[in-house]
């Protein structure tokens, strides 16, 4: 039986893109949520948090935010250099996780059962969701980056480093999206599909996205240091700030591979298991 994985994926991607355009509320949320968060952290909390971090004085090397040589008015600008990469990652995480709801809702549509009775590639049905979600996530991440620059984010990175950061973000998004697809497939209801991925979407907060792990209380700190988002955040931050990323880049790639492969395998297995109704 010839399978047309690529053709089928493109056909179904067109379908998903139409959905995204005609029913854009999820997408708008995915794009504007992180932007609003950025405005909140910089405009409202920036000064306080920046000051707090500066006096904490660790973990901020290379961001321009050190305990010496900064006037208090410089803190927001320096803080944005610290958190912008974190918020971009948050955008990637929440954008990816929104796929779970979309997939779960789609599975309740009779038309997907129709696809299952047709000679359509199984991978294509899921891959179309993944690509559609990736496109949304990329728009969201670029949106956050643009707003961050407008707010004074001035990364000193070469084009190669920008591309490396973007590449890592895409890989992370891809891995998380496959995981989200699996979570959406095993969720009985869209409500459930929005809950469990939420835990993953807030992981960056319990990492080094908004504050260095070193400043966190013991226990939380160990978790923050070893969870998957921290090396990704540190790598992106390092790449954009022009500082060495150390072993974080490898760690981040490893996490992406593990999460992505696991999510992919889980998603396909879940899709092949018929849903009871």
């Amino acid at each position: 039986m010839p399978t047309h994985v690529v053709t089928d994926t493109l056909t179904l991607l067109r379908r998903n893109l139409r959905h995204t355009i005609r029913y854009p509320s999820m997408t708008i949320g995915a794009v504007f949520g992180p932007v609003i968060m950025l405005l909140l952290f910089i405009g409202v909390l920036g000064k306080t948090l920046g000051t707090g971090l500066a006096s904490g004085g660790t973990g901020l090397a290379g961001t321009g935010l050190t305990s010496t040589g900064l006037t208090s008015t410089a803190h927001p600008a320096a803080y944005i250099a610290y958190i912008a990469p974190g918020i971009i990652i948050t955008a990637v995480a929440s954008g990816s996780m929104a796929t779970a709801v979309a997939v779960c809702v789609d599975m309740t549509e009779g038309v997907v059962d129709r696809f299952r009775t047709m000679p359509v590639s199984r991978v294509a049905i899921l891959a179309a969701h993944v690509i559609n979600s990736m496109l949304t996530t990329i728009v969201a991440a670029v949106g956050v980056a643009v707003v961050a620059v407008a707010l004074g984010f001035r990364p000193h990175a070469t084009t190669a480093r920008w591309l490396a950061a973007a590449g890592l973000l895409v890989l992370l998004g891809l891995a998380l999206t496959w995981l989200a697809v699996a979570m959406g497939l095993v969720s009985a209801t869209p409500e459930a599909a929005s809950n469990s991925p939420m835990l993953i979407a807030i992981l960056p907060f319990v990492g080094s996205a908004f504050a260095p792990a070193a400043l966190m209380p013991a226990g939380v700190r160990q978790f923050a240091e070893y969870q998957p988002f921290t090396p990704a955040i540190e790598t992106v931050r390092g790449l954009l700030a022009g500082t060495p990323t150390g072993h974080n880049a490898l760690l981040a790639l490893g996490w992406c591979a593990v999460i992505g492969a696991g999510g992919y395998a889980w998603a396909l297995a879940a899709f092949r298991t018929p849903r009871a109704h």
């Binding site: 039986m1 009779g110 038309v111 059962d113 129709r114 009775t117 047709m118």
Partner: protein, 362 residues
């Protein structure tokens, strides 16, 4: 495995072509599957959910180019049967083949040969009717221009041309079901599963759908239909299987099934108890209801009906001539006894009786 599915549904003469290939020499070198005289076969299909058997050993034989109706109450296992035969779920036990392909061994080949219209509409509600059909055409790899032509043709055939670009959310149930069936036909399936296709439709839409089904059968397609409407099975099906508690409790033509239950009866209604006694005596009534003031006599002998109803949509009434003479005889005898009646009603055996007699209470 691609030898079997021309993606055109343009009424092949007959799918079965029975006499020609009794012993097909393997002249077509690749998988020389003979054109199946049987479109669907199943032996001993079983399925349980959580230890509770839903299908308890189902055997099916559906000749190509015929309509088979699986009739049964809610929860009898009709949808489970369709879900198994259309490759959506795997059976726990038993074997089945559809369009000549084993379900377990060649699900892909089965999928290429079938079309399914489920109980719940399987249309993409965020797309228009035309977009839905083109989506199907693309997934069947018909090619861009032939695919669009096919979509246009089906829109036309199903009377959807005027609403082709409108959002599905504005569609009535009947319109939606028509689109659903049109989508099922895009790939030119040889075997079509219709799971309660007219549930929730108004009578006009239901009749429209029946007409479409008849057209398809005329084009050589095999239809496997589930329904809880006996009239529907009576109207459409060549053979009917009655499913109850996961077992086929009876199988045959509508006429054969009707012979399984007692025949019809005539009921006379009278004004007062004395008239009831007189009427009962005059008729030799087999049943008398003192409260309702009615007396009953058989209108015909069970088993005398022999007509096939499927090509006689107006009557659906076996032994109508017997019934007419029985009514005349009842009236004559009442006249002779001088009994005045207020009303008379005739009950003819129909599939409802079969259904109620063969399926248990829930």
């Amino acid at each position: 495995m691609t030898n079997t599915v021309p993606p055109t549904n343009a009424a092949p003469p007959t799918n079965a072509a029975p006499p020609a290939n009794t012993a097909p020499p393997a002249n077509t070198a690749p998988p020389a599957t003979p054109r199946p005289a049987l479109a669907i076969t199943a032996t001993g299909l079983r399925k349980s959910y959580g230890g509770k058997p839903v299908l308890d050993g189902i055997d099916l034989r559906v000749p190509a180019g015929t309509v088979f109706a699986l009739l049964g109450p809610n929860g009898a296992g009709k949808t489970t049967t369709v879900r198994i035969l259309s490759t959506l779920i795997a059976a726990d036990g038993g074997r089945a083949s559809v369009a000549g392909h084993d379900l377990a061994a060649e699900p892909g080949a089965v999928r290429a040969a079938i079309g399914v219209t489920g109980q719940f509409s399987a249309v993409d509600t965020l797309l228009s009717a035309r977009e839905n059909l083109i989506l199907m055409a693309d997934l069947y790899h018909l090619g861009r221009r032939p695919g669009r032509r096919r979509a246009a043709e089906l829109l036309d055939r199903f009377g959807l041309g005027d609403v082709a670009g409108q959002p599905i959310s504005t569609f009535s149930g009947g319109l939606r079901r028509r689109l659903d069936l049109a989508m099922t036909l895009v790939g030119g399936p040889r075997v079509i599963f219709l799971d309660e296709p007219t549930t929730g439709l108004d009578p006009r839409s239901r009749r429209g759908l029946w007409a479409i089904v008849r057209e398809l059968v005329a084009g050589g397609v095999t239809i496997f239909l589930t329904t809880q409407y006996l009239e529907e099975a009576d109207q459409l099906a060549d053979r009917i299987g009655v499913l109850d508690h996961g077992r086929i409790v009876a199988e045959g033509t509508a006429a054969e099934l009707k012979r399984l239950v007692p025949g019809g009866h005539i009921t006379v209604h009278v004004a007062d108890p004395s008239a009831l006694a007189a009427a009962a005596a005059a008729l030799g009534a087999t049943a008398v209801d003192e409260d309702a003031l009615t007396a009953q006599v058989p209108s015909d002998q069970p088993g005398t009906s022999g007509d096939s109803t499927s090509d006689n949509p107006t009557s659906g009434n076996p032994a109508s001539s017997n019934t007419a003479s029985a009514v005349r005889s009842v009236l004559d005898r009442l006249d002779a006894a001088g009994v005045a009646i207020t009303d008379l009603s005739v009950h003819t055996p129909d599939l409802d009786d079969v259904f109620l007699a063969l399926t248990s209470d829930h």
